[in-house]
């Protein structure tokens, strides 16, 4: 049976940039209309969409990553200063290990503290949380007035008790503080975990301002219209979720551009060539989802534990008809030859709600492994539903469990990626 054209949902994708912003209206990978305006005012952008397209639109998905990145990279980007608290058995004895290796993070962090405590990767306590030290840190932060606080505890992916206690105590002393905790992001490695939580904290004020403007604009444009915000993995979350975890928005432009280029070609599995000022890069799209990795975000100057598009230099790949490119990737090669901003918007319009888990577990049998996998899938599904997916629409799109080298026998790393459905979105008022 052929679907009635009017039954195929229409989605709006937008990308806000510091200098120029764009929006497209998309029906099943076909661009119905496009608007571009100088600056980053979402109201002005939405007002340019034709009334006929507006009447059919089911949702608006906005990429704000270029605004977030510009704020991070500009020395005077208006980001909030951050107090960073590490919870680990001992403070660093070497200056270089006491700070973050990336300049971009060090610029944000104005105060640093270490509170003795923490757990190992299996959640075993390495030492009791030093509550006297915690009190002293609370007093110090209260005195200097820092409102954005990032907390990262060793082993909090497995046992967040110390991290939570620190955050709870700080919140009690500083009710208006914005506290980010590393447990919310999972992942491995102190430096990438610290960068993730520091950026999340620093971005919270500016993200709130941007999202306030977006929500207000969409509400005025069409009351009740669902608003989604693009993630670095090429998916989306609700605006309220992005307010608390704004670091998830970084890198969305790259991922959505890949997705947009793939969507236009009509193939769900391909490699996409993108032009960048520093040269061409290539990324993969599988099942119309962008291939992502943690620690992969380019142009930021630090690694994050949250997944972003896995882009790499395209040296050796000559053009779309290059037989080597086909042989190496075993999938078609797509050259993204349309305006990048338009591709980002198309990617946003066809994107899906997503969630990601990356954690360490311990198994003693294959049955136990199955239990661990089921549990991880269930939690990832709950997260994607919290991110805005309609209940019952989530698919496990990627799942891997690998034995952790040189770790005790039975240690596995579990990574799960879940995506909700694209088109099961309610029309306003329905």
């Amino acid at each position: 049976m052929v679907a009635n054209r009017a039954d195929v949902p229409v989605h709006v994708g937008m990308s806000l940039g510091p200098d120029r912003s764009q929006a497209v209206v998309v029906r099943h990978r076909t661009v119905l209309g496009s608007v571009s305006v100088p600056g980053s005012d979402p109201s002005e952008l939405l007002s340019g969409i034709r009334p006929a397209d507006r009447a059919q639109a089911r949702s608006v998905t906005i990429d704000i990553s270029r605004l977030l990145l510009a704020a991070v990279l500009q020395a005077s980007g208006g980001l909030s200063p951050v107090a960073m608290i590490r919870v680990r058995p001992r403070a660093a004895t070497d200056l270089a290990l006491g700070r973050h290796p990336a300049e971009v993070i060090e610029r944000l962090v104005t105060r640093r503290f270490t509170i003795p405590g923490g757990h190992d990767l299996f959640g075993r306590e390495l030492g009791p949380l030093d509550r006297q030290a915690l009190q002293a840190v609370c007093r110090e932060i209260e005195r200097d007035g820092t409102r954005c606080i990032a907390v990262v505890a060793a082993g909090s992916q497995a046992q967040p008790r110390h991290e939570r206690e620190v955050a709870d105590r700080l919140q009690a002393v500083l009710p208006d503080a914005r506290i980010s905790v590393a447990y919310d992001f999972g992942g491995l490695g102190l430096a990438p975990r610290e960068a993730t939580v520091a950026l999340n904290s620093a971005l919270s004020d500016i993200a709130e301002d941007i999202l306030d403007a977006c929500e207000s604009a969409v509400r005025r444009w069409t009351p009740g219209m669902p608003l989604h915000v693009g993630r670095g993995d090429g998916g989306w979350v609700t605006a309220s979720r992005m307010r608390t975890l704004p670091v998830l928005g970084l890198g969305a432009a790259d991922a959505l551009e890949l997705l947009g280029a793939a969507a236009l070609t009509g193939v769900d599995d391909c490699r996409v060539l993108l032009d960048r000022p520093s040269g061409r890069v290539v990324g993969d799209v599988r099942h119309l989802l962008v291939a992502v990795r943690p620690y992969a975000l380019h142009g930021l100057g630090t690694e994050l534990v949250v997944p972003t598009a896995a882009l790499t230099g395209a040296d050796g790949v000559q053009n779309a008809s290059d037989p080597m490119a086909w042989r190496s990737g075993d999938v078609p090669l797509v050259e993204a030859d349309r305006d990048p901003d338009e591709l980002i918007c198309i990617g946003a319009a066809v994107s899906r709600p997503t969630a990601w888990l990356d954690e360490i577990a311990f198994i003693e049998s294959t049955d136990e492994l199955e239990g661990i996998r089921r549990d991880a899938q269930a939690r990832a599904t709950a997260i994607v539903t919290a991110n805005g997916a309609n209940p019952g629409t989530a698919d496990i799109v990627e799942m891997s469990t690998v034995a952790m080298p040189y770790s005790p026998s039975g240690t596995v790393r579990v990574r799960v990626r879940v995506a909700g459905a694209l088109d099961i979105r309610s029309r306003p008022g329905s």
């Binding site: 990767l121 230099g313 891997s400 770790s407």
Partner: protein, 367 residues
């Protein structure tokens, strides 16, 4: 950046650290980059502050100079999450000096690969002693008595481990094989990893017992890996410098766990990776893992096995694919490289060959 070969280096500077890191990953492509930023930044800062570290072969030192090996024992993931405070390796050496009533005049890597190739450099800088251009494995093996020093009759003991918790354990043991067993439970309690100072001996001992030039070669290989080239060019260059060969290219289709009987004395449980060859003969590769890739079967026939070094290159990214981040769908090249000749002796194969991993087959290079 130049990719010319630099023979045995005379010193290591801060500028060499990125290449050293990449080369060290090539010789043990098991653990990813979660600790890279912290360690590289720390090492570069140390060498900028303290100046270059002198790199010497054991035969360039007076034979009576006391030397000690250093490595990270335990989980790379644990170290990434709980990086060193900075004094663990120095204090492990100082404690061993205290136990043995002697001063060490040089340090060397127990295994010149992965992060264990980097930490002796940090300690050499902090202690202001030379770093030996030699090690005991030429790659990494899972147990601390799987070394060329053990084959030469040297003992790992007495040994000291110092954990990120600030605690120290000293072990004196007669049988080398017992040392690892005694260490593991302590390492777990110390936070999952620890600084290990072991194999105290003289430069004269190491002239006959250690594998030479295994540190300087890391920088040469690392420079190749830092070049932004496609996977095909990279593999060709690696083959020219290291002697590695590409067995095949394919897509990962399955990751399996507990795929062979497990022996809990060796870290990481047995697991397997199945790769569907793209092009070529359309073979099915089965890779058997145990912290490293210990065997490669091609359509059921043993094509490579430990002590061969087997690594995977991610075709999309043109870089090494580490074993802690493999995913079904990844397209990889399977590369095989011979280890040092000592490991293909009867004693070497008995220690680290396929039978030591429960694969009772003759090694392909010995057929």
């Amino acid at each position: 950046m130049s990719i010319g070969y630099v023979g045995s280096g005379k010193s290591i500077t801060a500028a060499d650290i990125p290449a050293l890191y990449e080369g060290a990953k090539f010789y043990s492509p098991a653990v990813g980059d979660a600790s890279k930023a912290s360690l590289v930044s720390w090492l570069m800062d140390l060498l900028e502050r303290n100046g270059p570290v002198v790199l010497v072969r054991p035969d360039a030192l007076p034979p009576q100079v006391h030397c000690v090996s250093l490595c990270v024992i335990g989980s790379g993931a644990a170290l990434a999450d709980l990086p060193p405070s900075g004094d663990e390796f120095v204090l492990a050496v100082r404690e061993l000096e205290h136990v043995m009533h002697r001063r060490f005049g040089a340090v060397y890597p127990l295994a010149a690969a992965t992060i264990s190739a980097l930490v002796p450099l940090a300690a050499a800088s902090q202690l202001d002693v030379p770093l030996l251009d030699a090690d005991g494995m030429g790659r990494t093996f899972a147990l601390i008595h799987h070394t060329s020093m053990s084959l030469a009759g040297l003992s790992p003991a007495p040994l000291v481990v110092r954990g990120p918790t600030g605690e120290t354990v000293t072990i004196e043991v007669r049988a080398s094989a017992r040392a690892d067993t005694l260490l593991r439970s302590n390492v777990d309690t110390l936070g999952g990893w620890a600084a290990l100072a072991s194999y105290p001996c003289t430069a004269g001992d190491l002239r006959r017992a250690a594998l030479p030039s295994t540190v300087s070669r890391l920088i040469n290989v690392g420079r190749l890996l830092l070049e932004p080239v496609g996977a095909d060019v990279l593999v060709t260059r690696l083959a020219a410098v290291t002697g590695c060969q590409r067995i095949g290219r394919g897509r990962i289709v399955e990751l399996e766990h507990l795929s062979r009987p497990s022996d809990v004395t060796i870290p990481a449980h047995p697991s397997s990776v199945v790769i569907d060859e793209i092009g070529g003969q359309g073979r099915l590769f089965r890779l058997e893992l145990r912290s490293e890739i210990v065997a490669v079967f091609a359509d059921g026939a043993l094509a490579a096995a430990a002590p061969d070094l087997v690594c995977l290159v991610d075709i999309l990214r043109g870089e090494l694919a580490t074993l802690d981040s493999l995913e079904p769908g990844d397209v990889v090249d399977v590369l095989v490289m011979p280890a040092d000749a000592i490991w293909y002796s009867a004693e070497g194969l008995a220690m680290v060959g396929p039978t030591s991993h429960g694969i009772p087959l003759d090694h392909p290079r010995r057929r």
